[in-house]
């Protein structure tokens, strides 16, 4: 299984029956394909859809129905369409239970940077700032390190922040970590990595409890 698949499969387990969940562009939007078909959940897409379901078969795709990442989607029974003002009203009012979101950097205090690399990458903020600032529970989905092998789980973010102290949980292909008042606590680790290795590839200070699950 690829690193990406491992992240997405693990992330899918976070979604509980009855949840309203926004899936950010990138890894998170793919989580919709890993949900059990009978799981009663409402996926929110900020372009104005509640009740997102996977792409229908190719010959019946509706070109006027996409998610915020541009993927063709369908809706489950009980879905609704609405305008962008209502869509962000839902977000700002805290009506979502959970947002899954990508990251350039995330730190042990739950700060998130995922929109701008000054001088290199600044394509705009999209809906990320409002989702990060206003959703009660934010789970970051990210590879543990960047392409150069540098940790993306930091002591303190260096890039411009999307929102402060917003992240509850971080899921990578190596570990599941929770932001707590005491710091970043390791909850699960991949079977193919030792705790020592994990600590060595993680810039953030990891708190290792007695029990660590298997990712």
């Amino acid at each position: 299984m690829s690193d990406i698949n491992r992240i997405i499969e693990r992330a899918a387990q976070e979604i509980r029956p009855g949840n309203v969940v926004n899936l950010g562009i990138g890894l998170p939007t793919q989580v919709v394909h890993y949900l059990p078909e009978n799981l009663e959940v409402l996926i929110h897409s900020e372009n104005g859809v509640l009740g997102v379901a996977g792409q229908p078969s190719v010959d019946v795709i509706d070109p006027f129905l996409i998610d915020s990442a541009g993927n063709y989607i369908s809706t489950r029974p009980g879905g609704s369409y609405f305008d962008s003002a209502v869509s962000f009203a839902m977000i700002r009012r805290g009506k979502l239970d959970l947002t899954m979101i990508g990251a350039f950097e995330v730190d042990q205090a739950g700060n998130l940077a995922n929109w701008k690399i000054p001088g290199k990458f600044s394509p705009g903020i999209g809906g990320a700032m409002e989702l990060a600032q206003k959703t009660p529970r934010i789970i970051v989905l990210t590879t543990h390190c960047d392409k150069k092998g540098n940790s993306k789980i930091l002591r303190q973010c260096r890039l411009p922040l999307t929102a402060k102290h917003c992240v509850s949980r971080i899921i990578t292909e190596k570990a599941v970590m929770d932001v707590t008042e005491h710091g970043l606590v390791l909850r699960e680790k991949a079977a193919d990595i030792s705790i020592e290795e994990l600590i060595s590839i993680t810039e953030a200070e990891l708190i290792i409890p007695d029990e660590v699950g298997v990712l």
Partner: protein, 231 residues
Amino acid sequence: MNKQQTIEQAIAQIPAGAVVMVGGFGCPGTPFCLINELLRQGQRNLTLIKNDANESGIGISKLIENGQVDKLITTHLGLNKPVIEMMNDGRLEVQFHPQGILAEKIRTAGAGTFGFLSDIGIDSEIIQPEQIMEWQGQRYVVEMAQKAEFALIHAAQADSYGNLVYQGSAMNFSPLMAMAADNVIVETSCFGTPGSIHPSRVHTPSIFVNAVVVLPQLSNEYGVLDHHVRY
């Protein structure tokens, strides 16, 4: 009260230098035909307001790549390389807002109010210090209304008065822009007489619409983009 116009008539009202809102989030809701006519007529020095810049080679990206646009007010440029390059080169001025804030600024203009108090990004670099106001002991970001002279809108269905229905995720910014712009130009391929849309099903009431352009059919641009299909 019949607002039907030809596409040439409708778009010819837009002068050079105009501020133009364009509906659509990605493809759905993007009024490709109205945009193509604006490309053909060639008005320049435009300011465009749209959620995104479409992908390279379609929608408003064509207008930008053709040098007709001085300024873009938007939320995200996605992976549109030519537009990002023009921004980085200084050939295109780009003003970014958080998506819901742009939606709300447009909606505020549409509501005939002047601004609203927000806390989105209050301590981030996206908010300028001069936007911060203290009021009754609280700090707020003051976000001012975003108006426009024109809006270009795609509707799934319209009647001759200008009542509109949107389809699926093609609604997005369109009802807000229809309220906020002084001249609202709509394209549709499904056009009917007054009464063809039940009053409860109207998404944008006719009062906000100035011109309805009837498209003989929807071109390929409105179809499924193969590179977005998951096989």
